[in-house]
Homo-oligomer: 131 residues x 2
Amino acid sequence: MKIGEIANAAGVTTSRIRFYEKRGIIAPALRGPNGYRDYPAELVALLRFIEQAQGLGFTLSEIASVEIRNDPQPISGEQAIHMLMAKRDAVDALIEEATQRRHMIDALIEDLRTSGGDRADGAGGARGPRT
Amino acid sequence: MKIGEIANAAGVTTSRIRFYEKRGIIAPALRGPNGYRDYPAELVALLRFIEQAQGLGFTLSEIASVEIRNDPQPISGEQAIHMLMAKRDAVDALIEEATQRRHMIDALIEDLRTSGGDRADGAGGARGPRT
DNA sequence: CATAAGCTTCAACCACGGTTTAAGGTCTGG
DNA sequence: CCAGACCTTAAACCGTGGTTGAAGCTTATG
């Protein structure tokens, strides 16, 4: 798929895709004989994932660390497994952090509900009288 | 409390507090006869709330619009609750995505282990030639 | 009383995450 | 054949969320 098709399918701009590629957040595309990028259709899902993660406050570096790209040069099975396991750990870390964030959100909601709009700073605590 | 005390208690920099004040994210401080800012101790909790919310991907504008100050009119926690619930849904979606990714990584690792490290590519989504 | 620490304002600078613009090359349809 | 759509790179620009620095005033301490 050409960059415009991918961009259209994923709902992002072409400039954004090029930017991601330049930053190593997505794998460099294969190139046709005309120099045009040729992306796999799977990239659409990855781009959506990136948007999701960004919406949750993850930086592009964080996202890049949990994402796996097609390595240009095949590496030994040992290395590949090692790398994949590192990626898996990073994904686990992301899931854990996201789960914690979820809990934090729940707590904030509960706090707001019980305090009846009294104040919004309930979480994180420390509401002593002023010093 | 003077700005340095507040900053110390909340674990933020003084410049950040001045920045927030300038942007209207926090209320302007009272001033002593010397011109020094004098903040209520409650600001500490608010600053922590701001950090939390930022970590969840909220922009300062979003926070400012939802944040509840010492205003006479406590603006509805309704809004905040809706915002947080939407964010919670987004977090859930991300967790699901990440979990699927984790499974894909596991499958790849297994693949490499059983097939002797033939190929090191694949990811982002399905393996397979580009479409 | 001197000196450091802490406060003031204002302006310049920075990283991040892109978008926009310029100057092309390529491909498609009438 | 050629206009317009789509692709290329490189570099300039932008909003957000701050940090850093200069220059000066105040306050606390030996």
